[in-house]
Structures are given as structure tokens and as C-alpha cells.
Symmetry: C2
């Protein structure tokens, strides 16, 4: 069996791209590595990129010199999680407060691992989780 | 600014959970770390989990002893990417062929980095990408 190194990209489809780019940039200070009026790519770390796509903006294949990017789109209130260092939990609570982002709930998973949940401008459910939330079983 | 370590979880909402679990399990041989009739959590690596949720199965908050998991849901043909070792490109092409999964397109990003795209049972656009696809700029 060939192997997978990890999740390289995760994507959310958003109604107002400028608004969402501002939201995520202010909250996370991610570096923008590529953007236009259709999408924005934020670098999360050396291996991972977080993508925002304007809803309805990628309904047709996109031909570029190296090949064709197939279409995709999404509706609804999706879910994804970023991992944060356990030592920065209080700083993250404070950062959300400073940015005016309400914490919708928190979960203690056992073993000290915990998550908090908030909504982005489209109602997507974003989780900040300390390491070990899946080690509970 | 507090920091983010990485993308910890990405999620797809699927119509037929059993069918999608089988599809991803056969294709990637991910270990299942938790599942029920609402969702399935696959371990991708030590830091990352890939989630499948039955569409329409998480429309209400879920109360567990440690807190409340807020609702989420998604429609459409979403997009995400797994990173694969560049040395395993041919093995992945073969694995897709063996599993009867059509490659919808491939893209050469320059510098030797490349991606292939295929669809899961719900038409979600899944990319397998070698390292460096965002280093082209």
C-alpha cells in the first residue's frame, strides 16, 4: 500500500470572500500564499494550507499550463479543526474575545485534552483543539 | 499572537456513510479510531484525523459528559487534499486503478510537484499532492 503523509489542504466555501479572508487573517495571522477574486490560500505550517473559495466561483474546470483543476463547491455549515498548543488555551480564549468571536461551546475530552468551537462568518463550525482529543478511547 | 500547530481535522459530509467508509478504507487503509451510525473518524497520522459525517446527522447539538459539540452539516462537492510522498506517485496511480477509481485530471505545478484529482462516492473532489505544490510562486 502506498502511504499518505497527511492532510495537505482543507477548504471552506464562503459567501463573501473578502470578509472571510479578513476574519481568518485577523484571527490566525496566517500568511497568504496565493489569492485572487476566486480563492485565498493561507499557509498553516510547512505542510498544510487552508483554502477559502468563493461559493459558486469554481463550478467549471480551470485550465492552467500544468493541467486542469476540476470544479468543486460547497454549501452548509462545514466543520474543521485546527490544533493549538495546550499551553496557549488561555491566549486563544483571549484572542477570540479581542476579535469579538463568541465561543459557542467547549468540550473536555479527558486526559486534559479539550476543544473550543466558534463560527466563522458563514456559520462554519471551527474547532480549536489541544493535542490528544482522539486519545480518549 | 497565540499559535496554530496545524490542521487537526477535516470533515466531509456524505450521503451513504457505510459506502464512503468502505471507499476511504479500501483506498487509504486508514485506521478507524471512532465510529457510529453518525460519523467515522480515520487516523491519517499522529496529528491529523479525517472525518466522515452522515449528511443531516449532526443538525442538533450533541451533549456528552465533557460538554456540547455544536451542529454542522454540508452539501455540495467539497475539496480537500492529502499529501503523498513524491516517490509513491506511480504506486498511487496503480492503487486508484486497482480500486476502480478514475483519475479526473492531473496538474504539474512546476519544480516537479504534482497533483492528481479524483471523486469520492459523493463527488467530493479529492486531491493527492506531492510536497511543494504551493512553492511555485
Amino acid at each position: 500500500m502506498p502511504s499518505v503523509s497527511g492532510i495537505g489542504e482543507t477548504a471552506l466555501h464562503v459567501t463573501d470572500l473578502d470578509c472571510s479572508v479578513r476574519f481568518y487573517h485577523q484571527l490566525f495571522a496566517f500568511t497568504t500564499i496565493a489569492s485572487d477574486d476566486r480563492f485565498c490560500a493561507f499557509r498553516v505550517n510547512e505542510q498544510q494550507v487552508f483554502l477559502l473559495f468563493k461559493r459558486g466561483g469554481t463550478l467549471e474546470p480551470i485550465r492552467i499550463p500544468g493541467g486542469t483543476i476540476p470544479p468543486h463547491d460547497g454549501q452548509g455549515r462545514l466543520h474543521m479543526a485546527f490544533t493549538i498548543p495546550a499551553t496557549e488555551w488561555l491566549e486563544w480564549e483571549n484572542q477570540l474575545r479581542v476579535q469579538g468571536v463568541a465561543i459557542e461551546s467547549t468540550v473536555e475530552w479527558g486526559g486534559g485534552a479539550r476543544s473550543l468551537y466558534f463560527r466563522d462568518p458563514d456559520g462554519h463550525l471551527i474547532e480549536l483543539a489541544t493535542p490528544g482529543i482522539w486519545d480518549r478511547d
